[in-house]
């Protein structure tokens, strides 16, 4: 039952990433193409733009949602790869625990930075 829930969450996370990371990549890393369609604007990596995004509650929520979805999806994949490669229930359980610890630690770091910058 738990594995089915994780499988379902993995697909939901994939769809969240598809939308949010697609938009993030289009704006940040395809800026020439993005501005071709949306009109010329400032460089999204300029400090003023970074501060403006950092102070937006919508951006804060979307960053945290994207971070959570990406870490869950990524570590779910790593877990599956390692469980396939490793033999033994103990090793497989250890991989599961390590993936959760690493994912949660990165989520806490990323969320702390996003929230701290929002209040700065």
């Amino acid at each position: 039952m738990r594995s089915m829930l994780f499988w379902f969450l993995n697909i939901v996370a994939a769809l969240v990433i598809l939308v949010l990371l697609g938009l993030h990549l289009a704006e940040m890393h395809l800026s020439a193409l993005w501005q071709y369609f949306t009109g010329a604007g400032p460089n999204p990596l300029d400090w003023e733009q970074v501060v403006a995004r950092g102070n937006s509650t919508t951006m804060l929520a979307s960053y945290i949602l994207l971070l959570g979805a990406a870490l869950f999806h990524g570590f779910y994949g790593v877990h599956n790869i390692l469980v396939e490669a490793l033999d033994g229930a103990k090793a497989q359980r250890a991989v599961g625990v390590l993936c959760w610890v690493a994912g949660l630690a990165l989520f806490l770091v990323g969320t702390f930075v996003t929230v701290a910058f929002n209040g700065a």
Binding site: I11, L21, A32, L45, G54, G74, E84, A85, V113, F117
Partner: protein
């Protein structure tokens, strides 16, 4: 069958070939190569995400640090690496949509006798894989266009 025979048979057919199976080429079909690329691109994207979390944390250190960091990312090498990240995302996303469609049963065809050549594989899954790769190719070209026009 002796105990030793059983051990050999189990070792041979337990399906755990590990990471080396990814490197085995031979008569693997298109979807087999996409499976390997999906995993490799996924691992690369996760590695980049971890790096990205720490690099973007630099904004907490103030404007000067941010500006000097961004100056580094504008070198040709970093721009090429940025394109690789974009390419990994484009492939992983489009191939992921293909996998979700198959996993949810939308692109596997009707249940049929498992007789070679498998109709579902040939007329549903293979065309879907080809369409997914064409879309990926178009996205890679758009990314390349962007890189050249910055």
């Amino acid at each position: 069958m002796t105990a030793d025979d059983r051990k050999v048979a189990t070792a041979k057919h337990d399906g755990r070939r590990g990471f080396f199976a990814w490197l085995a080429g031979g008569r693997r079909g298109l979807e087999g190569y996409l499976y390997v690329l999906h995993r490799v691109s996924g691992l690369a994207l996760l590695g980049f995400l971890v790096l990205h979390v720490f690099v973007t944390s630099a904004r907490l250190l103030g404007e000067e640090t941010w500006r000097s960091l961004m100056a580094v990312t504008h070198s040709p090498l970093m721009m090429a690496l940025e394109y690789l990240v974009y390419a990994a995302f484009a492939f992983h996303a489009i191939n992921g949509i293909r996998l979700i469609l198959i996993e949810l049963g939308f692109a596997v065809g009707r249940p049929d006798d498992p007789v070679y050549p498998y109709e579902g594989s040939l007329h549903k899954q293979r065309p879907l894989a080809l369409v997914a790769m064409v879309i990926t190719g178009v996205l890679l070209l758009l990314g390349g266009f962007d890189l050249l026009h910055r």
